[in-house]
């Protein structure tokens, strides 16, 4: 199984945070930057996080770990690995918001959903797109999509 993986190239992140904006837009209703800003903010939040300290900046999103603590810790089975893509998704219908996943994720990349649903929200590798929005729109290729594993 070939598995998509986003590489984070810390040395090339310029801290523009466009990845966040495109992430939000990709997961929005309208898929339009301007409309998202005008009408949909508060309903979607980015699942990529940009960190910044002095000269160091980088974007980080769910690593879709081999041994995923979040999947192990999930009490509802909402957090699961898709056997097709190898990625980890959260089934928001199942999630009860116990935040066990937030407690155990060593990357701190699972968020409490921003909309009325108090359920976990995380990177889904943009399942419905060829290229995750953050990767596609990173102006300096600080996020790079690779495929690991055998085909």
């Amino acid at each position: 199984m070939k598995k998509k993986k986003i590489l984070v190239k810390e040395e090339y992140c310029i801290g523009c945070r466009l990845c966040e904006i495109y992430c939000v837009t990709a997961h929005s209703e309208s898929k339009n930057l301007i409309k998202v800003f005008r009408y949909e903010l508060g309903e979607v939040a980015p699942t990529v996080i940009v960190e910044e300290k002095e000269y160091t900046t980088f974007a980080v999103q769910c690593r879709h770990c081999e041994k995923a603590s979040c999947v192990q810790a999930c009490i509802t089975g909402a957090m699961h690995r898709d056997n097709g893509t190898g990625a980890i998704y959260v089934d928001q219908e199942k999630c009860v918001g116990c935040w066990m996943c937030i407690m155990v994720c060593p990357y701190g990349v699972i968020k409490r959903g921003v909309n009325k649903k108090k359920v976990a929200s995380k990177c889904d590798l943009c399942v419905d797109r060829e290229m995750p929005a953050c990767v596609e729109n990173c102006p300096n290729e600080a996020l790079v999509l690779t495929e690991v594993g055998e085909s």
Binding site: Q72, T76, K94, C98, W99
Partner: protein, 426 residues
């Protein structure tokens, strides 16, 4: 090869998964005393509160067992393990042979000696059936007020569910504060206030000494002399490893079943994992019985791999809990109540927002963390605790609001980002 797993909780299910990862063919039998298999126990309070329906109770749908070629025996209480004959015997007298056995029977509720505790309307709360019974009892008896004995996690999660149902609830806790074993004083205090603000009464340094009423509960008498009118008393003072049936089997039991880092008991081909197991750390000689879901899952996985022949070692865990009560999310990881000399405490409290963070450091390493209100990115701290990372170089950054991976030493971050760190297993 025939694997037998007693108990279908997280440990049992993780073990089954691990076994099937390696060995798809061999016979695998899972046994539970309950009538349903594959549901998630921590969800029973959510079920009571109406947040989770019947369908979503299932962590694993029955068809998953079929898909993985697992035979499930429900309603089967095991009363004896016979390692000499390599079999287990059920209450009904069935003899089930095994080649490899996993004991993952979890815990059973502890009921203190209280006068009148046998009356109708007194419940423990550890199984789905408890939840169902309480739910129908409330409806049938028009219960408007409940008393919950025990201010620990199960007690409070039950309280939360009862509040959701519109009941008035009084929590009675023997210790001087609620959440005494898992959270620190400040967190307890914040949570107490949050519960109180929702109309919940909290009595600490107190306990129920007598249940009054004819056939059914009508009021309870507290040690302090206070009487509370109630039709419902839920006893949630804790669980004990469910190991009584092992008596005479030769399997070493202390509080729980003693296991080594491969989840092996002293008896060959018999493993134990989860709430019923007591991990004896070979490097320290200390024994721990941490009854939480992630530990049960990890132990179960280790047990499963070893049963199927892949030598894997358990790295040990720390207690950790996450719960949202009265709208306040809280997380506690590791040792948060330590107060000896060698310990350094870092704290951060924003009263108006009910945001509280506390970090416990020892010998330059993080050993505990408490988060109330703002729990975002708490897992980064959990990682630091589990990996025993030396945090002294960035100690002063730990409490920053924007604390994140960027403050970690570059080496650790690099390893982390490349996915080289394994948290639970070696």
């Amino acid at each position: 090869m025939r694997y037998v797993i007693i108990g279908i909780g997280p440990a049992g299910m993780a073990a089954a998964d691990a076994i099937r990862e390696i060995d798809e063919k061999s016979e695998l039998v899972m046994i539970t005393s309950e009538e349903v298999a594959g549901y998630s126990k921590p969800l029973i309070t959510y079920f009571l509160g109406g947040k989770v329906d019947e369908k979503r109770m299932f962590y694993r749908f029955p068809w998953c067992f079929e898909e993985k070629n697992i035979s499930v025996m429900t309603g089967t209480e095991i009363v004896q393990v016979d390692p000499n004959e390599k079999r287990v015997i059920s209450k009904r007298g069935e003899e089930i042979p095994y080649d490899k056995l996993l004991i993952a029977t979890g815990g059973s509720p502890f009921v203190p000696k209280i006068e009148g505790v046998e009356k109708e309307g007194v419940f423990t709360f550890t199984q789905w059936k408890d939840s169902k019974m309480v739910a129908s009892y409330i409806v049938e008896n028009n219960v408007a007020k409940a008393v919950v004995l025990g201010g620990g996690l199960i007690g409070l999660k039950t309280t939360e569910a009862l509040l959701e149902l519109g009941l008035k609830v009084s929590v009675v806790e023997l210790a001087d504060r609620i959440l005494a074993t898992t959270f620190d004083k400040k967190a307890s205090q914040i949570m107490t206030r949050a519960l109180q603000s929702r109309g919940c009464e909290v009595y600490t340094d107190d306990t129920v000494v007598q249940v009054k009423g004819k056939r059914k509960v009508s009021k309870v008498l507290l040690k302090s002399g206070r009487e509370i009118k109630t039709k419902l008393l839920i006893i949630a003072v804790g669980v004990r490893p469910n190991v009584g049936f092992l008596e005479g089997s030769g399997i070493e039991v202390n509080r729980g079943v003693i296991v080594n880092e491969r989840m092996e008991t002293n008896v060959e081909n018999v493993f134990a994992a989860g709430d019923c197991a007591e991990f004896r750390d070979p490097s320290t000689g200390e024994s721990t019985n941490i009854a939480i879901w992630p530990v049960a899952f990890a132990e179960g996985e280790v047990a499963g791999y070893n049963m199927a022949g892949r030598p894997v070692k358990y790295q040990g865990g720390v207690p950790m809990n996450s719960v949202e009560l009265a709208g306040l999310a809280t997380i506690s990881v590791g040792f948060t109540n330590v107060e000896d000399n060698g310990v350094e405490i870092l704290k951060y409290f924003k009263e108006e927002e009910n945001v509280y963070r506390k970090l416990v450091l020892k010998d330059g390493r993080l050993i505990g963390a408490v988060f109330v209100g703002d729990i975002d990115r708490a897992g980064i701290y959990t990682g630091l605790i589990l990996q025993k990372v030396d945090v002294s170089s960035f100690k002063n950054d730990l409490l920053r609001e924007d604390f994140g991976l960027v403050y970690l030493p570059k080496e650790y971050r690099k390893k982390l980002m490349e996915g080289e760190l394994k948290v639970w297993l070696e």
